[in-house]
């Protein structure tokens, strides 16, 4: 987030001090414009998960599982909100003292440290915490796409809850909460590592641990309602302005540029994916163009506060081409049933975007490298950020899944899977036509 970049050191110090000392003493003056924009952004980012992502995913599954996916996204939203309140906010953004490189603290039980007067930068801490909460909501919700149509609802809740604490909170602390990656100068404006690499890698591991859906590769599993998917995709695009431009944590030039580059990258990613399909398969598909949009958006996310419009165009085009190719590779060569392609779209997008942020920050109208930093040096820092998130998230996600599997089991039975999760897990059907 921009707190943590060009104005760098000062902002970091300020964040740290705020969490240590009574905030009223140090608080910046409250800025009404900044506060209004982050309030708005918070609503936009929540709108991305419910209903945006929920509808996007729901349309992609078979009609017997439509409710299960909507339910998973909705329940994650509720559960993460409560966990954020109880202790996760402090874990992610608190000052961990001697452990601050790695993790925050447990002082923010029930968000007890936040009063009406608490400030982060120029906005109330209540707004900051709430804004960050919406990021903590969408990240586990993204993972749902990998294990859709076969995971038990109870196992999904356990996995998401533990993952939030053990993976999401520490990685967020490393990157935005004053941890070691932030100290190194990692550029991740709105969540290339924290959200997209994190969700993508967890998705890949989940797809591997759970195994493919029954009949994967042998029977047909086409999306049951692409109009729903396209509607959800449109909501994601709009909501992403809150995600990226909101990450400026103010109503300022960074926010404006972030919105512009976000939009350009979404458009470029869409066109690139569409073109790839048109060339390779003879026809442009609507699912292709909207998937390219998500790839373009996910990829610009870490770079959105740092690059210029021309950089964004190149990032979007790269996203469309690379994510398209990786999607095909995962399905046909690796035969991994990451059911709704979370890793190739979000995971790869996060990797490419975080690396390219290091390149385009210095050229083509970017915000400029930090003093004394070379392009090579920055790209190395970006690589360390990606690799450490990748490995940490991968290993921990695997352990959590194995643990939950041992205790309550991850999958429904084959018979239940054939019947569909809506009826088996929720006693409901999506369509009574």
């Amino acid at each position: 987030m921009s707190l943590l970049k060009p104005k760098g050191v000062l902002a970091v110090l300020l964040t740290l001090l705020i969490s240590v000392l009574p905030s009223m003493v140090l608080a910046d003056e409250l800025n009404g414009a900044d506060t209004a924009w982050i309030l708005t952004s918070t609503a936009l980012v929540l709108f991305m998960t419910i209903p945006g992502l929920s509808l996007f995913y729901a349309g992609l599954v078979r009609n017997k599982n439509v409710l299960s996916v909507l339910m998973q996204c909705f329940a994650i939203t509720c559960m993460v909100s409560v966990m954020w309140l109880v202790f996760v906010y402090g874990l992610a953004f608190g000052d961990g003292g001697s452990m601050n490189k790695w993790i925050g603290n447990l002082d923010q039980l029930m968000l007890g440290g936040i009063s009406r007067d608490s400030m982060v930068g120029s906005i109330p801490e209540s707004v900051f915490s709430m804004f960050q909460m919406t990021f903590a909501i969408i990240t586990p919700a993204l993972i749902v796409g990998a294990f859709a149509e076969r995971m038990k609802f109870s196992a999904m809740l356990w996995f998401s809850a533990i993952w939030l604490v053990v993976v999401y909170a520490p990685v967020t602390h490393w990157v935005w909460g004053g941890g070691w990656l932030q100290d190194m100068g990692l550029l991740d404006f709105a969540g290339g590592t924290v959200v997209h690499v994190n969700a993508g890698v967890a998705a890949l591991v989940a797809a591997l641990v759970l195994g493919p859906r029954k009949g994967f590769g042998k029977t047909q599993m086409p999306p049951h309602n692409l109009t729903m998917t396209v509607a959800g995709a449109g909501m994601l695009w709009v909501g992403w302005f809150g995600f990226n431009a909101g990450s400026a944590l103010g109503a300022n030039g960074d926010a404006g540029m972030a919105m512009l580059v976000t939009h350009i990258s979404a458009a470029a990613g869409s066109l690139a994916w569409m073109a790839m399909e048109w060339i390779r398969h003879g026809k442009p598909s609507v699912l292709g163009i909207v998937t390219g949009m998500v790839a373009g958006l996910g990829t610009i996310t870490p770079a959105s506060g740092f690059v210029g419009p021309a950089g964004a165009l190149l990032i979007g085009l790269t996203a469309g081409v690379v994510c398209y190719s990786v999607t095909a590779f995962m399905k046909h060569t690796m035969k991994i049933d990451d059911s709704l392609d979370v890793f190739p779209v979000h995971g790869m997008g996060g990797v490419i975007g975080t690396l390219l942020a290091g390149v385009f920050v210095g050229i083509l109208g970017g915000a400029g490298l930090a003093e004394g930093m070379s392009m090579g040096g920055q790209v190395w820092v970006q690589f360390v950020g990606v690799a450490s998130t990748f490995v940490y998230c991968g290993v921990l996600s695997w352990i959590i899944l194995k643990l939950v599997d041992a205790v309550i089991g991850l999958r429904v039975s084959e018979e239940e899977e054939t019947q569909g999760l809506d009826l088996v897990l929720h006693d409901e059907t999506g369509y009574n036509l």
């Binding site: 047909q220 599993m221 086409p222 999306p223 399909e277 398969h281 026809k283 598909s285 699912l287 292709g288 998937t291 398209y324 999607t327 095909a328 399905k331 046909h332 392609d341």
Partner: protein, 112 residues
């Protein structure tokens, strides 16, 4: 009496209905069906996952007619449903033993 069963392309249904109406056919039964013949199915592609759809949608018409009208009905359906392309469908003709109008109890050709 004969039972004529015609499988046609769905978009030709209105033309066929009009053609039958013009030659005095008083009623038909239509069902949406799927099947395959010489016309191959098609492929659908979702993010690189290719699905071959073998069965194509068709409209099935069932028409009970007096024996002397069979040729006329077949002619009308053929003219109206013909596009000259593969997949135009088929017409089956079979014997119809009896017809009963439920309301009045009339039987035979009177009930058609």
């Amino acid at each position: 009496m004969k039972l004529i069963t015609a499988i046609i392309k769905p978009f030709k249904l209105d033309d066929v209905r009009e053609a039958l109406h013009e030659i005095g056919v008083k009623g038909i039964t239509v069902t949406e069906v799927k099947g395959f013949g010489r016309q191959k199915g098609h492929t659908e592609l979702y993010r690189g996952a290719e699905y071959v759809v073998d069965f194509l949608p068709k409209a099935k018409l069932e028409i009970g007619v007096p024996a002397d009208k069979v040729e006329q009905v077949i002619e009308a359906i053929r003219n109206a449903a013909n596009t000259g392309k593969i997949g135009d469908g088929k017409i089956f003709v079979s014997n119809l033993e009896q017809t009963i109008r439920i309301r009045t109890g009339e039987t035979g050709p009177d009930a058609l």
